[in-house]
Symmetry: C2
Amino acid sequence: MPTIKDVAKEAGVSIATVSYVLNNKTHLVGKDTRQEVLDAIKRVGYTPNITARNLKASQTRLIGYAWHRVPNDETNPLLDGFAYFLAQAAEAVNYHLLTFTHADDDPIPVYNEMIRTQRVDGFVLSGTVADDARIRFLTNEGFPFVSFGRSNPGWAFNWVDTDGKVGVQTAVEYLISLGHQRIAMVAWPEESVTGNYRLYGYIEAMQAAGLPVHDGYLQRGENEETAGANALNQWLQLPNDIRPTAAIAITDIVAIGLMREAERQGVQIPTDFSVIGFDDAPMSQYVHPALTTLRQAIPQTGQALMTILEALLNKTEPKEAHILITPRLILRETCAPPLR
Amino acid sequence: MPTIKDVAKEAGVSIATVSYVLNNKTHLVGKDTRQEVLDAIKRVGYTPNITARNLKASQTRLIGYAWHRVPNDETNPLLDGFAYFLAQAAEAVNYHLLTFTHADDDPIPVYNEMIRTQRVDGFVLSGTVADDARIRFLTNEGFPFVSFGRSNPGWAFNWVDTDGKVGVQTAVEYLISLGHQRIAMVAWPEESVTGNYRLYGYIEAMQAAGLPVHDGYLQRGENEETAGANALNQWLQLPNDIRPTAAIAITDIVAIGLMREAERQGVQIPTDFSVIGFDDAPMSQYVHPALTTLRQAIPQTGQALMTILEALLNKTEPKEAHILITPRLILRETCAPPLR
DNA sequence: CTGTTAGCGCTTTCAC
DNA sequence: GTGAAAGCGCTAACAG
């Protein structure tokens, strides 16, 4: 590979001059000299070595992004797609994504190592939880990062998140517009920050419409099919006049679990029962009936994250430290007016 | 961030000595000096700057991996999971993954840029096709790379691939063991290298069992649901005595398309018709009935790729230039003995 | 054994 | 306008 020296020799100038040309310091180099250098660059086929540039500038132009944990060969389709759009957004501002993995239970050493070796200029986090150790650590280190997802309300850090509350509100309002009055929800465990925002959306929308949230309407469970199945079975045991006719599931996985249980129990969806998921996972269009769900705006999320992070990396205050992105309700086949 | 100089000062030695300690040149430094340096390193909290090391060594310890194209917000679940395991395999040998994106139709400029700027030490390709422009380009450049997937048989390059032929053979044999005799297949267009290997598996297994491949048994289409739907409809038009009782679909997507069409046509799966997919996409366990399919061994594939690439990067001959990895048949609910 | 020193390839001050 | 030279942080050849 040719270096700046080769170009200098070829053009008969000093390496400083070549550097000026490369960095467009037009006021520092004569028009003809400039052209000569440009020609020489072309002739020798030169491109600046990025490692040398980075060393000089004490940067890497690399953003670290850790893959979410993968339990048993499973992947999280939402976040898989996210990484792609994040990479694209990073490239638009001349950064690249360095993806790495870490032990499920203890991510900190890897983050620490990346900071100490100066492998990356900043991080993007995803899958954040309450009391997130990574957020605490990075804040403490004063190392630049943004998070896809909120954490403890008291913590001061930059984030972008899907507006789960508004999303679920929209979904509930849609069910109401269809004629439903007895609407239930499967939420996540109480500790889940993300889950609670979505839950608030449900509660508020019900209250706003003056609809009661009967005992048992709110069920909770992990992000598994069984959560949906269990919830449905609870609801089926409620007396006829308060038994829900529709439900919001906190994710598509949960919604699908509910649907499969409905099939087992002879409950027809959407005729007997309507359901709306959250995420628009790839499989959701393949289940039968195809799942009506809230789609997170992943491409925009990636861009918003990079906008904030770029500001941080330039040591300027980001315009907005927190950005909420509204999900879109994708109408498919799991909702219908309630049986009269 | 402390540098090697700070450590040297702290320990009262030269930077060379510190460097020797860092690089475990034990024969070059006294036992007590070594300990003193080690202590100083700990005291000042020093970790070598990787950019400087890389500049010195003319390397990056970065592997470039391009995301497959994403048409309309869709992602390829198989490859999404692949990136994770590839990253893990890379980290095991002290590399990191630099993920990047490129225009669908013209990936070469991005690869070229990465090489010229010396951003990465090598590449891993996926989604390779016949006459793959990337393979041609990288071979031409003499730049280290490995491919997940084969391309033109005549081309000399290193690859790892799922053994589609053996996989489909296994699937066909399984159907035969269930009692099926009239087995059909939906393949990809003739140009698809990967598709043809899978197809050979079908042909050979049928021949080996002395089973006829009747006219119309072999259908082709793109990787879409419609391909499966169309194929089924063709088969349904065949006369009763040669109408297939089971089929191999070249991917899960195609299998799912077939299943949905079967439902529309009143064909019960697996009672009336058995089907086997390929890939074990995440959605495949959620469709109803859950899809029996061939699962690619993605973690091993990532490791195999890195083993080869690491050899290339060390300028040694890889032990095996080509590695075939056998997929595993995952039995679920879409296969049953044929109706008598 | 330990230190001095010359780079790796680039940017940027400071003279001229 | 142009160039000499210092230096980013590190490794390693060479002296001693």
